[in-house]
Symmetry: C2
DNA sequence: AGTCATAAAGTCATCAGATGACTTTATGAC
DNA sequence: GTCATAAAGTCATCTGATGACTTTATGACT
């Protein structure tokens, strides 16, 4: 569980400044008070103000121009969805990834070529069946296959987001329930390729959902005791 | 266009540290060198190191524990999907949003309550039909409806990402073709609510895809001359 | 030997002051 | 009125110091 946020001054300052921006008391394009003034307003040192400003710059709210000042550039945080995703539960993360996965399979079916299908089959053969031994290697080969399915969608956004969620989910699993979610078998993998080859987006979507269903219900059982 | 990044030390430090993390030279869970050591390694002052660390904390890569040290909490690259999404074409953005939309509708159907359904119907009635006049207001009401559908999925990740893509798509449209994509009518909207109310995830998914299909094919016509 | 309170060391959090680099504005000569 | 130059304002960075918190080592006591 999340321990309550231990206040530290810089974060408090971040929240204070962000609040002003979101409340439109400092409008987009406007210049913030200078560091010394902010430091006085917030009753913290200049160094702390700089840390807070740096965080807000990295989140896309502010921009600093040396010699000129600090300006509001946006009232919408680009990182917010992804930070939310990080903090979210495993279940939510899986559901989001499933959305990307299913859509990618649909597009892959629509945009398939004999070459990509052959490539997928090759990767699947290479992946083989796990019989103990080099687990890391097997996971890597399995991941390569799934990545190839996403790549076959020819959609850059899906590719990028899928990578992000894959990493995130792997980390979450490692951190919490270190073990055993069901691993779909070879047939389930092959079904996806078959559906893509058939060119039927609905079938591809269904194959992916069937593929993931056991994992999701296993998650349900673990999360709802 | 983006002017090239003027180097400033703190950002350079951010990139250096982020690089180590993404290359897994500092693994997840591992402790970073202390501030003094990092400062020496990067040849910058401790204050600058702190600014860099603060930025990476706010991006979800690091976590600092007073008295203990600074730890890597995630190696998932949040930058890549964001920049890819920004640079991607409108078509890719729409496809990604559709994936989220359809999945959210599925979950909304599974997790519906009489209250949420009633709320959706109320929003839809409020939205009304556009007959000229207050366009901004109509768009806002339309957006509120779609957001409510996503919210009904009770999935924080989908909610966050949907917002992100909505904003992104709005910006892209504004920037490139400021012109007219078809706007689905009231019946198409109502079909989504009906499907959610029925509790059938497949039907909800289909309703959303039917809803978006005209937009996507219009895009196709615009993009493939 | 084992346990536990306490001291010591390590580390982040924050502050204060100072200098450099860059931008904006004011000045004044032409 | 224009334009080079000086002055003021502001962020960028460094240095050094103190406090707060965590982890580890110490040593007395049972």
């Amino acid at each position: 569980m999340d321990p309550l946020n231990k206040t530290n001054l810089a974060d408090t300052a971040v929240e204070a400044i962000r609040g002003e921006i979101l409340a439109h008391r400092w409008a987009v394009g406007e210049k913030l008070p200078n560091e010394a003034r902010l430091s006085a307003m917030l009753s913290v040192s200049r160094g702390t103000v700089r840390e807070a400003v740096r965080a807000l710059v990295s989140q896309g709210y502010l921009e600093t121009r040396q010699g000129s000042g600090t300006y509001v550039v946006s009232a919408a945080d680009a990182f917010r969805p992804l930070t939310m995703a990080r903090r979210a539960g495993l279940r939510d993360q899986y559901e989001a990834r499933l959305a990307l996965d299913a859509q990618a399979a649909r597009l892959a079916a629509l945009r398939r070529t004999p070459e990509t299908v052959a490539h997928l089959r090759a990767l699947l053969a290479e992946r083989g069946i796990y019989e103990g031994g080099d687990k890391a290697g097997f996971i890597a080969r399995d991941f390569a296959f799934h990545q190839a399915v996403i790549a076959a969608s020819q959609n850059a956004v899906l590719v990028g987001m899928y990578d992000f969620f894959s990493t995130l989910i792997a980390e979450t699993i490692e951190a919490s329930l270190s073990e055993e979610l069901p691993e779909p078998d070879d047939a389930a993998h092959a079904a996806i390729v078959d559906a893509i080859e058939s060119g039927d987006p609905q079938a591809a979507d269904t194959a992916v959902r069937r593929f993931m269903a056991p994992v999701l219900s296993a998650l349900d059982r673990m999360l709802l005791p």
